[in-house]
């Protein structure tokens, strides 16, 4: 597997805070879980209406989703398994050469 399979089970989640309160809560959650923000590039850029895409590890994803549900923040799972997406995106020959 590419990258020693380190991204197995990792997810990419999309959230769009609809209110200032949700934006504030989301920033706190992101700080707490030390997420890898795909967009925007920095947590400080998040406000109401900002499309945020966040990469979260397999170990943290369940707790993060629970926090989002408790805060009543809607989310969409863009990529359910990052490792699978990685492996699929490259041609077989590229993967073989890299390995």
């Amino acid at each position: 597997y590419l990258y020693n399979n380190r991204y197995a089970g990792d997810k990419v989640i999309r959230l769009i805070p609809e209110t200032k309160r949700e934006a504030h809560v989301l920033k706190d959650i992101y700080h707490q879980f030390k997420v890898d923000l795909w967009q925007p590039s920095g947590i400080s850029s998040i406000s109401e209406g900002t499309v945020t895409d966040v990469h979260v590890s397999r170990n943290s994803s369940q707790n993060l989703l629970t926090s989002l549900q408790q805060a009543n923040i809607q989310y969409e799972i863009l990529i359910s398994d990052l490792q699978e997406a990685l492996e699929k995106g490259n041609s077989w020959r590229s993967n073989r050469n890299r390995r």
Partner: protein
């Protein structure tokens, strides 16, 4: 030959640099490769100067890709652009005009250390790989390290953040080398184009503040025509506008610095897609992404050959 190298797969840094060396030898009439310095980890910062040689000073366009390591479609586009330029110079009157009247300085991989790190260790790495011994975290955001409202809104002073602006402006050797190169040639450089991903946008200054640039009408009409040209290929829509209001406020960006330095047309492209694949744009989408982006870049270039 050009035909043996695949432009529809992502290449490692070593492959890209070998490709540059190869073109330098085989296409010396239109290509000249040189280095503008070294990265933090000691890698050469290679540039391809593309265009018909002239005894007189020609205006130039600067194109850089891969400021952020994980945005692999950027370097893929830079390679595509060079390939298209060389392959169509004789057959395409527009391309011939571009290369006869202008030079193109292409930097296929700006953040060489970060790109190599994203290829070998952490696919989602963004920053450079510099390190200050006082802190445990590596890297500076190379698009927050320029001397234009440095480390203000949209940048972070915390070294472990992905938008860390660095200990001081141009602290990163890569940023310093490019800034020095562009500063010396600013009288001749008509356009600065930087390629990122992902959001499907064509952005122009300002990033660091909400304000209208003095040559708004020329830049805006160039952007409008460019996104329409892009859309004509596969129907893909790009939003366009000032970066601060179209994307978000960020200080210390290369685009704002280029504009402030006197380059009249400064753009940042955010290429495909809008989040379905994100940074993992499949190799099968390299060709359509590059083909449509090529139309936009040609459109901007031909726009600046006419005086606005």
């Amino acid at each position: 030959s050009l035909g043996d190298y695949s432009y529809e797969v992502y290449h490692s840094l070593e492959e890209i640099q070998n490709w540059m060396h190869h073109l330098n030898k085989t296409h010396s009439g239109l290509i000249h490769m040189f280095s503008i310095g070294k990265s933090y980890e000691g890698r050469s910062l290679f540039i391809l100067k593309l265009g018909k040689r002239s005894r007189h000073h020609k205006r130039a366009v600067w194109i850089d890709c891969g400021i952020h390591a994980r945005e692999w479609i950027g370097p893929a586009f830079c390679q595509w652009f060079v390939k298209e330029a060389l392959q169509t110079y004789r057959s395409d009157p527009a391309m011939r005009r571009m290369l006869n009247h202008l030079y193109f300085y292409i930097m296929p991989v700006f953040n060489v250390d970060g790109y190599h790190f994203s290829w070998t260790s952490d696919r989602f790495w963004r920053k450079t790989r510099s390190r200050n011994s006082r802190f445990r975290c590596h890297g500076v955001d190379a698009n927050r390290n320029w001397k234009v409202k440095w480390c203000d809104e949209g940048a972070s002073l915390y070294p472990c953040d992905d938008t860390y602006c660095g200990p001081f402006p141009e602290s990163e050797p890569e940023v310093k080398a490019v800034a020095h190169f562009l500063r010396k040639r600013r009288k001749y450089i008509s356009a600065y184009l930087s390629f990122h991903a992902y959001a499907q946008m064509l952005l122009y200054p300002y990033s660091y503040k909400y304000a209208t640039i003095p040559n708004f009408s020329c830049v805006e009409s160039a952007a409008y025509d460019a996104v329409n040209a892009l859309q004509s290929a596969y129907g893909v829509r790009y939003r366009y506008g000032p970066a601060s209001s179209t994307l978000y406020v960020s200080s210390g960006s290369s685009m704002d610095w280029a504009y402030k330095t006197g380059i009249p047309y400064a753009f940042a492209f955010e290429l495909r897609d809008t989040g379905h694949f994100g940074f993992l744009l499949p190799e099968s989408l390299i060709k359509p992404t590059c083909m449509e982006t090529m139309l936009a870049v040609k459109n901007i270039t031909l726009h600046l050959l006419k005086k606005c």
